[in-house]
């Protein structure tokens, strides 16, 4: 699933054969129940391009993915993929100033995000500003390094460290997630460290690292460009060739891989923490990667457990036994592996140990006899409705096309993605529930009782 080359072996060389390419690769809306009509091709330098016209409003969305994330960071450079993303907004050789400036001037919605697997950059603008977006995206893909200096690195390093404080250090329980992931994924696993990185590693980032990262990962052959919205295909193709065509192909980066993670036994972490309001527990299992076998079944397990007021875990813990304030179950599926998570907050006067025992009982019941026919049908129907709801902006469509391209190897995966859920059986859900065994991490957090907060709660 992670090959960098030959995903699109049959693709046209772009530009000169527009009409033919369109007829071969556009996906007919009538052919399938659920699809995003689009055209896909590749430039000579390896840049994959996906175009999806949508003329409802005079808007376009440009979305670029680079196939690199925090999983690809070397030892001692945690947080670098994200720091680099910040530097991508600091100017390029032909637009040496802030990238936000020309974009905000035309009312664009602009941002970039980094996760463990990929880095993306996107802007939504009026249709007339498509050349501006393509110019900027191509300029930082091809002409970035000339303007990045130590001062910009020092400044954005501080910004990112503030982001770390704001997202992880100020909110109660903020540092549980990275610490929990570090327990689930052992030392050396690409997901062991968090995308935000550590202060220490961020401080160590250098200009040399910037050059190396850009040279290794930011070639057009390691990226894909999606344009969705109100544009003319021929015009867009010409602009894309002009702007991105001259960028030289980069090296083929070595694909980061990981062996499946198996926990032979249970790991229990108990933490007493200042400044948190409740007793909370997280139970985490390593699970299959996104779209791998078993991934859809586990999503259905989540719905059966906490999909509504009468779902199994919610009704048992929150309403019948009243030992939990809330309980949530979800799967965080990524490219190399997933994590299955139960997150429960104790009701006043109850302990996280009580919660774990009650959760285990419910899980055992589902593993023992599987979901009812009714539970499965309801879960699938709600997942299906979620597919419609998640597609109502150009930004969502564009990012979905890139998600499918990178993960499934084709942007044309929407119907198949839904079909995975439609094909789930009661037996499959039962087996998935049974896989949530003792090979897991249980992470308890208890508030530290100080004199001050004792007074407050009395």
């Amino acid at each position: 699933m992670w090959q960098k080359t030959n995903w699109h072996g049959a693709f046209m060389k772009a530009f000169s054969i527009v009409a033919l390419a369109a007829s071969l690769f556009s996906v007919s809306a009538q052919a399938q129940d659920l699809s995003i009509e689009h055209t896909q091709y590749q430039l000579d330098n390896g840049l994959t391009v996906i175009l999806a016209e949508d003329h409802d409003l005079p808007l376009v969305q440009v979305n670029v993915w680079y196939h690199v994330g925090s999983k690809d960071e070397p030892q001692g450079r945690s947080g670098f993929a994200h720091l680099f993303e910040h530097l991508m907004f600091q100017g390029s050789e032909n637009q040496p100033g802030e990238y936000f400036e020309p974009l905000q001037e035309v009312g664009a919605r602009v941002n970039g995000t980094t996760n463990s697997d990929r880095t993306n950059y996107f802007e939504g603008l009026g249709r007339e500003q498509l050349p501006l977006a393509l110019w900027l995206e191509s300029d930082r893909m091809g002409w970035l390094l000339g303007v990045i200096d130590q001062g910009k690195i020092d400044n954005q390093r501080e910004v990112v460290r503030n982001e770390r404080r704001q997202r992880y250090e100020i909110p109660p329980y903020g540092e549980v997630w990275p610490d929990l992931m570090a327990e689930v994924f052992p030392e050396g696993h690409p997901y062991h460290h968090p995308t935000i990185g550590s202060h220490e590693d961020l401080e160590a980032a250098s200009l040399e690292d910037v050059h190396e990262w850009f040279g290794t990962w930011y070639g057009p052959n390691n990226a894909s460009l999606v344009v969705v919205g109100d544009f003319d295909e021929a015009e867009a193709r010409e602009l894309i060739e002009n702007y991105f065509g001259p960028i030289p192909r980069g090296p083929e980066p070595e694909v980061t891989t990981a062996d499946p993670v198996v926990h032979e036994s249970e790991t229990v972490v108990r933490r007493v923490e200042e400044g948190v309001p409740y007793d909370k527990v997280w139970i985490a299992w390593p699970t299959p990667a996104l779209f791998a076998d078993g991934d859809a079944e586990l999503d259905i397990v989540s719905d059966v457990l906490t999909g509504g007021r009468s779902s199994r875990l919610t009704s048992a813990l929150v309403y019948d036994q009243q030992i939990a304030k809330s309980v949530e179950v979800y799967q965080y599926s990524r490219y190399l592996a997933g994590v299955y998570m139960v997150e429960a907050t104790a009701a006043e006067g109850h302990t996280t140990d009580e919660l774990v025992a009650a959760i285990d009982e419910v899980l055992a019941g589902l593993a023992e006899s599987g979901p009812t026919e009714d539970e499965l049908a309801i879960a699938v129907a709600n997942v299906e409705a979620g597919f419609y709801g998640g597609m109502n902006t150009l930004a969502a469509k564009a990012d979905r096309l890139n998600t499918y391209l990178f993960t499934a190897g084709t942007p044309d995966y929407l119907q198949e993605d839904l079909n995975r859920y439609l094909a789930v059986t009661q037996e499959g859900v039962q087996a998935a529930a049974a896989s949530l065994n003792e090979g897991r991490v249980v992470f308890h957090v208890t508030p530290e009782v100080t004199e001050t907060n004792t007074e407050e709660t009395e």
Binding site: D44, L57, P58, L59, E93, F100, E105, V106, G107, A108, R109, V110, L125, G126, R127, E128, Q129, L130, P131, L132, W135, S138, D154, N155, R157, E158, V159, N162, R165, Q166, E169, I170, P171, P172, N242, G245, P246, I247, P248, E274, G275, V276, P277, Y278, G307, G308, R309, S310, K325, A347, E348, I378, A381, N382, A385, Y388, G389, M391, N392, T457
Partner: protein, 498 residues
């Protein structure tokens, strides 16, 4: 003009190695910002309206791109109507509407909705509440049946409320331990005092609310005269109205509840309200001051001036505190209004050791705008204006945005052309007006700064700014706090008194 000078400047710098090798049109030049393509006309989404026999107004924006319908029954009565000592009664009542209705208990109601793959939720705030439904268009009828049931025959079950009440009490503890939430809560309290959104919920108040109180509140306030129905999605008005009349037409019209007008606390001088959170990695800032209301002269001018000062990523405030100094992940300012008068607000989270420096920068930026030392430039204001105008169409990707604007117009009695006249209003303000208005109404006025942070680290420096500092606990109660001791050579006895 700008792009021409860039070409001249940069043409020589373009690296040779990256000259296009493929044949491209000779006119193509990557060294300058490209000209826009032809603009096409943007038309606002069309909202159509109808009325049920009980007077309930229905507004629909059709959108047939997905087989879904979204409805929001919006109420213009909310927390402002809470009786003395029972703050959050209205919120609690809204919350409980969907926890059992008619013959269905909460669990059965949830199951029926999930069978239809529909989501029904309810909730409230200080200015209103809503019951919202998202459903597949093919399941609209049976989903509306359930929505109508929650509206016409809510149970207000005692046992469900016990669980929610306990949860609400726990939520209070969560609010107190999150610096960002504390700052927001205290800012409202400092602004309004102990009325409206300035009231702080307490254990006592939450505990005093009973299901009987909710029933009484709902009997008076849960009436059609207080509501409007907003719908978007895959349905036409001709299909919709008969379905609604059948289910909602018999709902009591009742009498409209009218919100009082609230005023802001008077500010005679700029002041700091400090809440101590020992060990905090950042100081959370919330600033506010008064400004003209949306219907008053000067509102649009202040709004445009603010866009240039702190309303965008590239505005002065963020460019200074984030992109130049690296004190924060982001800083911005905005205009805000509700049933209370309009105010200008600023928010940011500053790394602890830069707290005093950041406060100084904010003061200096405001002073510079006033003193004509660095007035907002035409260029900054035009960029702000362009951002507002050109960004307008992008807000309408979701029909819910248009409906949100329409419901605000109704809730707050905004002018009829609030949406239609949006661009014209932004165009009508001159640069001079924006510059002067921001200077007169905002930058030269006193403001309140709520800062939640680590007093032991920042206290001494803040005390040296010469601003009055009021110390509060996380519940807004006044407390005494001494200026922390620091390295002896830095102690200034004269300034360490409040």
């Amino acid at each position: 003009m700008r792009s021409i000078s860039l070409v001249l400047l940069l043409a020589a710098c373009a690296p040779k190695s990256v000259e296009p090798e493929v044949s491209v049109e000779p006119a193509f030049d990557r060294t300058s910002q490209p000209a826009p393509l032809e603009r096409s006309e943007f038309a606002l989404p069309v909202a159509v309206t109808g009325q049920l026999s009980n007077g309930l107004n229905v507004t629909l924006v059709e959108d047939h791109s997905m087989p879904m319908v979204e409805l929001s029954l919006a109420f213009q009565v909310g927390g402002w109507s809470d009786p003395e000592g029972q703050y959050t009664l209205a919120n609690s009542a809204f919350d409980m509407l969907t926890e059992g209705a008619g013959e269905l208990d909460a669990a059965a109601l949830s199951t029926e909705l999930r069978r239809l793959a529909s989501r029904l939720s309810s909730g409230g705030g200080d200015d209103g509440g809503s019951i919202s439904l998202t459903t597949l268009s093919r399941n609209l009828g049976p989903s509306l049946d359930l929505m109508a049931l929650t509206l016409l025959d809510p149970t207000f079950s005692e046992s469900e409320w016990e669980i929610k009440q306990r949860s609400a009490l726990q939520n209070l503890a969560a609010v107190r331990s999150d610096a960002t939430k504390v700052a927001r809560r205290i800012a409202a309290n400092v602004m309004f005092g102990d009325v409206y959104s300035g009231r702080l919920s307490t254990e006592e108040q939450i505990s005093s609310i009973s299901v009987e109180d909710m029933r009484s509140w709902w009997a008076v306030n849960g009436v059609a005269a207080n509501a409007n129905l907003y719908v978007s999605g895959d349905v036409t008005l001709d299909e919709l109205l008969p379905m609604l009349e059948e289910r909602f037409g018999g709902w009591e019209a009742g009498e409209e509840s009218v919100a009082p007008e609230y005023t802001l606390s008077d500010l005679s001088e700029t002041q700091i309200h400090f809440v101590d959170m020992p060990g905090a990695a950042q100081s959370v800032f919330r600033l506010w001051s008064s400004m003209p209301n949306p219907s008053a002269d000067g509102y649009e001018s202040v709004r445009l001036g603010n866009q240039a000062f702190g309303g965008m990523f590239t505005a002065r405030l963020n460019m200074n505190l984030r992109e130049d100094k690296g004190y924060t992940y982001g800083a911005n300012s905005w205009v805000n209004w509700d049933h209370g008068p309009a105010r200008w607000e600023l928010g940011t989270s500053i790394r602890t050791d830069a707290t005093v420096a950041a406060m100084n920068e904010i003061l200096a930026e405001l002073a510079a705008v006033v003193a004509d030392e660095r007035p907002l430039t035409d260029n900054e204001i035009e960029r702000g204006r362009s951002n507002i105008i050109q960004g307008f169409p992008g807000r309408f990707e979701r029909a819910s945005y248009m409906l949100g604007q329409l419901s605000s117009m109704w809730r707050y009695d905004l002018p009829e052309d609030w949406v239609d006249g949006y661009i014209a209003r932004a165009e009508s303000v001159t640069s001079d007006q924006a510059r002067d208005a921001f200077s007169t109404h905002i930058a030269s006025q006193p403001f309140s700064a709520i800062i939640v942070g680590d007093w032991a680290t920042v206290g001494e420096g803040l005390s040296e700014l010469g601003l009055s500092i009021h110390h509060l606990d996380v519940d807004g109660n006044t407390v005494e706090r001494a200026v922390p001791e620091s390295a002896p050579e830095e102690v200034d006895e004269a300034l360490s008194e409040e």
